[in-house]
């Protein structure tokens, strides 16, 4: 099922009525989610990603704009008639029901032509349970399950009605690091197997990048950038997106463009064309550095962290906005700690320029 969001807007009235300023949670959101894809809504807390999800679910009414499932306008349709499955952040499994009763519950609510026989319901419940691999746990209560198992039950409960769209609110936030890795692959597998258009919300960029077909980066209710995870990572439209994606995060330095050269301090690190002289922010991905004894960028070396396959070189530069500059280089390179100084060359495709004021990306050509 294709999902289309048109100029979707949500305004919450301010609690303090005297202050009067309404809070715009989501502003003019436009997105077309292709059928059968997995979409990650990504952003820091308070960016409106959950609000967007709840508007798609119908639990929250948009202030403006329209929502389409396929060709149906569902904006005015109530939650239960939209044909969605929703997995809550804390799962919201009914604590007094067993796993089986939890999964059966949505089916027992079906009315009229959709009504199922008891045997059919059980079959559907077991199918859903098998899909998420909890068919051994059907008689347990939620309190007797681990976080990961509860998560699966919640997904099974959302899937059992065979929804047109599956929505997941921070699906991995309550799991420990190890389980998170496993579960996100699981979500990907389930989504692929069922082919249900799925939207999930997360503040964890790694999570979003790793499993999504498409990510939507949001900030303060406004969509910043939409695209395939790799494309967004490789080609951020502004400093916010560049900073938000990637671990370790991008290195940001203050610099300037002068006479076709990009300067960090008084070192010209890259020759470019197509940009007039101006003050800029420079973003360099950690993997955008290459060790080179004759390289143009010199930094004060403070530490080398060995991570097996790579080494992470921690260094300092007065122009850096962050306290340190972190670069990731192949472990084959030997870094001499005693030297005190490390010299880099930069890879142009990992090297971005942003406007000092607007923080928008400045495009350039490498000479």
């Amino acid at each position: 099922m294709k999902v289309v969001l048109q100029n979707l807007t949500k305004v919450f009235p301010n609690r303090d009525k005297k202050a009067g300023n309404d809070v715009v949670a989501v502003s003019d959101f436009n997105l077309e989610i292709p059928d059968g894809k997995l979409i990650g809504l990504l952003g820091p807390s308070g960016c409106g990603k959950s609000t967007t999800l709840y508007m798609i679910s119908g639990l929250q009414k948009p202030t403006g704009g329209r929502i389409f499932f396929g060709d149906d306008d569902v904006t005015e349709i109530s939650t239960e008639n939209r044909g969605i499955g929703l997995v809550f952040q804390n799962y919201a499994l009914y604590p007094h029901m067993t796993v089986l009763q939890n999964i059966l519950f949505p089916l027992q609510n079906l009315k009229g032509a959709d009504k199922l026989s008891k045997a059919d319901m059980l079959e559907r419940a077991h199918e859903a349970a098998k899909l998420v691999q909890i068919d051994e746990l059907m008689e347990r209560k939620p309190s007797e399950l681990s976080g990961g198992q509860q998560q699966r039950v919640a997904i099974a409960r959302a899937l059992v009605k065979m929804p047109r769209v599956l929505l997941l609110d921070e699906p991995l936030s309550n799991l420990d690091a190890r389980l998170r890795l496993q579960t996100r692959e699981e979500i990907r597998r389930i989504q692929k197997e069922t082919g249900i258009t799925t939207v999930f919300v997360t503040h964890d960029q790694e999570e979003a990048m790793s499993i999504s077909d498409m990510i939507v980066v949001m900030k303060l209710g406004v969509v910043q950038q939409t695209g395939k995870p790799q494309d967004v990572y490789d080609d951020p439209v502004n400093l916010f997106v560049a900073k938000f994606l990637g671990t370790p995060p991008i290195n940001v330095l203050a610099g300037k463009v002068e006479g076709g050269k990009v300067y960090i301090g008084d070192e010209a690190v890259l020759e470019i064309s197509g940009v007039e002289d101006r003050e800029v922010y420079i973003g360099i991905r950690p993997e955008g550095f290459e060790l080179d004894d004759n390289g143009p960028l010199s930094c004060e070396l403070s530490n080398v962290e060995v991570m097996g396959r790579d080494v992470s070189v921690v260094s300092k530069n007065p122009a850096s906005v962050n306290p340190v500059i972190r670069s990731i280089i192949d472990a084959d390179n030997k870094v001499d700690l005693s030297a005190g100084v490390v010299k880099y060359r930069v890879k142009p495709h990992k090297f971005f320029l942003f406007d000092r004021e607007t923080e928008e990306r400045i495009r350039y050509e490498v000479k």
Binding site: T79, E80, F105, K111, S143, K161
Partner: protein
């Protein structure tokens, strides 16, 4: 853990409370048991140096009295009628209160008022409301007057006034008044507990139910009630315990005679029976009745706990 050298300090601080509890709680309990098993124990006679045979005579005697059986019957009946009714009503009111936004605080206050009002005073107000069906006038020109608002209402809708509580009233009329009064009086506490329970229920359960298109009635029976089951068990158990100790509500409406004029003691309860025995110096029998009451409350509470173990799910 407290340092063992400091423990004497802890005991010192506890001492006043322990002394008071020993004198005014522990000793009376022990003494009650002692008196209950001394046949024919009489407060005056013991001063005269009399000694009493040890045995279960007080119990057999109390059980044989019709007045005790009446009290027991009344008490049981009030419990069985008022606890389910008040719990059910409190549940409905709590759910309704929880779902409205306007006037919520005001209504909450109104529903809570009976809790902070003296029950004898409320009893007198109820007595006035259910009051008087009387014959005034003589020589064949009877004028039936009703002063109570309840009977006024009944007449307004064309009904015959009912003699609720006055001389000549029927037992069931009396009982109806008592049930209405006790239920009304029991509501605030139950509403408070259940409303607190409702407010602590995670709202996402209701969102989840909404996504699944659960009808309202099913949300109530399959989600709200089970999630409230610990609070429901609590109000039912305390309701039964309170019900078995019913006394002042009846005094409030019928006075210390525990019945309408012409039929005193008709609505007596076990606690009323115990109080009646005291001025007659029948301490032995009063103690025996108190122990019987304790045994009943104990057994009923155990049964309640057993049931709630099966019903309270988490």
């Amino acid at each position: 853990m407290v340092d063992s050298k400091q423990q004497w300090k802890a005991w010192l601080y506890l001492l006043p409370a322990i002394v008071l509890l020993l004198v005014f709680t522990v000793w009376p309990i022990i003494n009650t048991v002692r008196m209950a098993f001394m046949e024919g124990y009489n407060g005056l006679a013991i001063v005269g140096g009399a000694s009493f045979k040890f045995g279960i005579g007080n119990f057999t005697k109390v059980i044989s009295f019709t007045s005790f059986k009446t009290s027991l019957y009344n008490t049981m009946l009030l419990c069985v009628l008022t606890v389910p009714i008040s719990t059910f009503l409190a549940l409905l009111i709590a759910v309704a209160l929880n779902s409205i936004k306007v006037f919520k605080k005001t209504l909450q206050t109104i529903f809570f008022l009976p809790y902070v009002t003296n029950s004898i005073a409320i009893g007198m107000v109820f007595a006035a409301m259910f009051n008087i069906v009387g014959n005034m006038g003589t020589d064949g020109h009877d004028i039936i007057i009703t002063a109570g608002i309840i009977n006024n209402f009944i007449q307004l809708f064309g009904g015959e006034p009912i003699n609720w509580i006055n001389a000549g009233s029927s037992y069931w009329a009396n009982m109806t008044v008592m049930v209405v009064y006790i239920v009304w009086n029991a509501l605030p506490f139950k509403i408070l507990v259940l409303l607190g329970g409702l407010q602590s229920v995670n709202k996402q359960y209701y969102d989840a139910a909404k996504v699944d298109g659960t009808p309202k009635s099913r949300v109530f029976t399959r989600i709200t009630v089970p999630l409230l089951s610990p609070m429901l068990a609590y109000v039912i158990i305390t309701g039964f315990i309170g019900g078995f100790k019913e006394y002042s509500s009846i005094v409030g409406i019928f006075g210390e005679d525990m019945g309408p004029a012409g039929a005193p003691r008709r609505l007596n309860t076990i606690v009323g029976y115990i109080y009646d025995a005291l001025p007659k110096m029948n301490y032995g029998q009063a103690s025996a009745a108190a122990l019987i009451l304790f045994a009943i409350i104990f057994v009923v509470t155990m049964i309640n706990l057993q049931i709630s173990k099966k019903r309270v799910h988490y």
